[in-house]
Symmetry: C2
Subunit: 329 residues, 2 copies
């Protein structure tokens, strides 16, 4: 079975770990291709940092910091302390020593002319994440967020997503812009994987700055619309709030209420030109199933909190079951 | 008093620390300009590493690993271990975490268009080494060493100096080539500092791959020949052997015997078109004083082992005294 998943960072990575555990436990022979968000990427100290790709790679490869959900396990901050001693900013984004090695390898490869896809493949040779990890694009796409700022001429300020999120802690946002997306092409293999998939999954990642930026790359939405595979997503919103992160602020910026049903309607039904064939909401949001189904999206309410690997695996199983249902299998 | 010193790594740095201690103890108002060797520079993992500049900067700035003589005090190897786990070579040159921060800052500055001089000045803003540290050149100069290798067509192999020294442990060498020196220009301020110096000192650095490469940059030898300042050197050879390093192998490669006198004659007397007005040999090499003086170089035998800061300071005092003698002051 060919499985394609679009993924952001922590939520996507934890879901994928559950997916692999489920496939393994169910003895399903499957190839999983992960299309990773790269619009959170940032250059720090000359290093190309790809937070979402690394979170997926570390999580599936066994190198993730387990509580933090990002960065390397048992990492230290010697380099960062020294950079601070040199007065090198930004002070709001600290890189771990082990993590820096990853960025050094990636940056060197990119400087030698490798694409981000090629650099990611080299890094994955070590981590063996058990999936084919593809960046959404080899071209630079960068999420910028506009916030209110009375001190500027037009009353707004536009920031790199990392500054908005890590430095400012995600204040109310006026707009989210995937800069460069219009000129970006899907990375090699992305559209092919979608086209030949047996199922496409949308893990409970941020609908705007993770899944949304992937969909903003011209060609990817079209491939998803055209694939014969069912497309099933899992709500990152439970009980009207994001499980983690700042999806509420990002959804508000694009005018979408923070609810499991509203996100499904935002994605839209495939039969109506949208993205989704199926949608999973949390058991506590069972009341929204009817709304989603009324929009032409098959919907089930199941437990969606990824408390542990077993919970994530069960969610993956539910997603695959719903995919089989919508595919009429 | 304007003092200019040409310096390699450990020997040069320890001498300079002694020089500053002496000047301070003697309450001599002096500005010291150090012209540092950059031909040992190497790019590792995409990072521009300047071992000699850093050894001077760390030693004078209080950040040096005291026993090792290079690298940072109390450093760790987290990044390097990870790079090794990625299969990233070379395995024979390990960078410390704290040290990597220095290289990150330098590399970022260079990638943004800064010259090596400018990057060095930025790094020195933190370390405040108490000297003006100038690279010999902002242009790339790289020492290559040719060794015998029966496995090749012509029976020789040519390596980067660091591979020759760090990886191979300095086997017999056939030639030493400062690649790029012919096209390099002295860094801004280098020739001006030499021209306006009251004294020029050659610390006990390697005569071939430290001092020799500095002299190989067109314009620097000419500036030394033209300066009104006395030029006084200290022998890095004591009792027919280098105090540290591989100067014996490097001297043999250029046909110079490993002796304090031979190095002086290799540099030559200024009055005969050479470099030196004065030369200090170790007390144990007092027998060579007559040979050096016969060549037109004023020579004294004094203790030259830098056992501690006091010993290095005493050597600096002797060098300045000899400079005053040859200047007729």
């Amino acid at each position: 079975m060919q499985v394609v998943a679009l993924a952001g960072g922590i939520g996507g990575a934890r879901f994928l770990r559950g997916l692999l555990a489920h496939l393994d436990a169910a003895a399903v022979a499957a190839e999983v291709t992960v299309i990773g968000n790269t619009a959170d990427d940032i250059v720090l100290h000359g290093l190309h940092v790809s937070p979402d790709l690394d979170t997926v790679m570390y999580t599936l490869g066994g190198g993730i910091h387990p509580e933090q959900g990002w960065g390397r396990a048992e990492d230290t901050r010697s380099v960062q302390k020294e950079l601070t001693a040199y007065g090198e900013g930004p002070e709001w984004f600290a890189l771990g020593d082990r993590d820096i090695a990853t960025h050094l390898v990636r940056t060197r490869l990119l400087s030698e002319g490798a694409t981000l896809s090629e650099a990611t493949a080299v890094l994955c040779e070590r981590w063996r994440p058990g999936v084919r990890l593809l960046p959404m694009s080899d071209d630079p796409v960068t999420t910028h967020v506009t916030i209110a700022d009375p001190s500027t001429a037009d009353g707004t300020r536009t920031l790199h997503f990392q500054e908005y999120w890590v430095r400012l802690g995600a204040p109310d946002a006026l707009a989210v812009i995937p800069v460069g997306a219009d000129k970006a092409a899907p990375a090699p293999g992305v559209c092919e994987a979608i086209g030949s998939a047996d199922v496409v999954l949308l893990p409970p990642s941020n609908p705007v700055v993770s899944i949304g930026t992937i969909l903003a790359v011209p060609g990817i939405s079209e491939a998803l619309a055209a694939t014969p595979a069912p497309v099933v997503g899992l709500s990152p919103i439970i009980g009207g709030a994001p499980v983690r992160g700042m999806a509420d602020k990002m959804l508000a910026a694009i005018g979408v209420p923070t609810s499991a049903a509203a996100v499904a309607l935002h994605y839209g039904a495939r039969r109506a030109g949208g993205l989704l064939d199926g949608w999973l909401v949390d058991s506590g949001d069972a009341a929204s199933v009817a709304t989603v189904e009324a929009a032409g999206i098959r919907c089930r309410a199941v437990p969606l909190l990824m408390r542990d690997l077993a919970a994530s695996a069960a969610m993956a199983a539910e997603a695959l079951t719903l995919a089989a249902v919508v595919a009429g299998r």
